[in-house]
């Protein structure tokens, strides 16, 4: 699928500069032009299309992990999963279920792996969010996808849990209430967390907005969650990277 021409380092730099100065709308349009999967959706690039409805298409991966490896993607261009609206997520995975079922029947395989990679470190290779449906046979060469079981101490679990739980609570309460300013039974320390999320949400929507916003949110964050301050200061650094860094990383490869 390597249809895009190689670029010189100067051209890449120039391009990055150009991308930086774009408005979010321009950027999305630009990404679409660059995205091979958007060309597949529009039919400009040929593919082995096996499923299509108004929101998603499913194609056979031309370099499959196993025969029948399906890529299911939203027609609209989204770089990463957190940017995909909920209705499309639901729709996409209901279609995933059907395609998985079709694989089981059509290929006489013994299972399927449903695989999503968010971010390059997780193995995301394209800048267009997609779901992989991988037919599986016993003793095929894909055993790493079987997920090894590791060990973890209670203490470590507790530590992870304490970091995760507030963020999970927060993300879900934002969703159930239209406005997340309502104080409703919250403790003092939860308020700054909400403020933080507000700025974070803007960052998500704007995708490539300047760093300042992110720093702001970090400050708020350290005040909000800070149960173990010493460790947190270290944590915040990496925390500030999150969504932006992923889109950035992917953007760099354009």
């Amino acid at each position: 699928m390597a249809e895009q021409q190689e670029m010189t380092p100067e051209q890449i730099k120039e391009l990055q500069e150009k991308v930086k100065n774009m408005s979010p709308e321009e950027l999305k349009e630009f990404q679409k032009q660059q995205c091979i999967f958007c060309h597949i959706v529009s039919g400009k690039v040929q593919s082995k299309k096996i499923y299509e409805d108004d929101k998603v298409i499913g194609i056979l991966d031309i370099n499959p992990s196993n025969p029948g490896h399906i890529l299911l993607l939203p027609k609209e261009h989204f770089q990463i999963m957190p940017l995909v609206p909920e209705d499309i997520i639901s729709h996409l995975f209901i279609a995933t279920k059907k395609l998985s079922q079709a694989c089981l029947k059509a290929l006489k395989c013994q299972g399927t792996t449903i695989f999503v990679a968010n971010g390059m470190v997780a193995g995301q290779k394209a800048q267009h969010f997609m779901v992989h449906i991988i037919p599986r046979m016993e003793d095929d060469e894909l055993s790493p996808l079987n997920l090894s079981e590791g060990k973890v101490t209670k203490k470590k679990q507790k530590e992870l849990y304490n970091k995760l739980k507030p963020r999970v609570n927060h993300l879900f309460s934002v969703d159930t209430k239209e406005q997340f300013d309502e104080p409703e039974g919250e403790t003092e320390e939860e308020k700054p967390r909400q403020a933080r999320s507000k700025s974070k949400k803007q960052v998500v929507e704007a995708e490539f907005e300047e760093e300042e916003k992110d720093e702001e949110s970090d400050e708020e964050d350290s005040r909000g969650v800070g149960s173990d301050d010493g460790e947190d200061s270290d944590e915040e650094e990496s925390d500030g990277v999150d969504l932006d860094s992923i889109t950035d990383l992917l953007g760099g490869g354009a």
Partner: protein
Amino acid sequence: MAKKGNCAICDIIEKGSEFTLFDNENCMAVLADKPTGDGHVQLFTKNHFTILEQVPDKLVGEMFTIANKLSTATFEALGMQGTNIIVTNGVAAGQKHAHCLVNIIPRSENDGLSLDWTPKQLTEEEMSTVELNVKEQIEKIGEEDESEVEKTEEKKSEEKKGDENKKKDPNYLLKSIERIP
């Protein structure tokens, strides 16, 4: 169908877990007790379904909407650089519990995990055969859907027994998973 006697996941749902991250009427998410990596979250439906194909559409949609958020949460809260969302569907895919669940695995550089594969090269002919077979099945599933949109899960599993030919493979899957201790 609500619960299953010897299912470890149903046990968690019944008894609760000290590491419950999310809990609503349909779904629950906990930190995995045998994690593939730090912060590995497992999300499952409260009703017992063995494989993804049995989970009703609406619930599939809800589950992955939640998975998406949990993914964002793990990744932000743990300062990670990515996540994998994986369903191991069937013993051959590494399914360990006879209860369908979604794995959310936070990823960072040098975390030592390799959830990747070496791409295979198929001939044009092989690709076309696969394409035809899968397409044919998808069309069949589409037809089934129209006639049984509102049917409940229980009815579906009954049908499976009746229509051996159509449901052959999912049945095989179920049997092999039910052998999981």
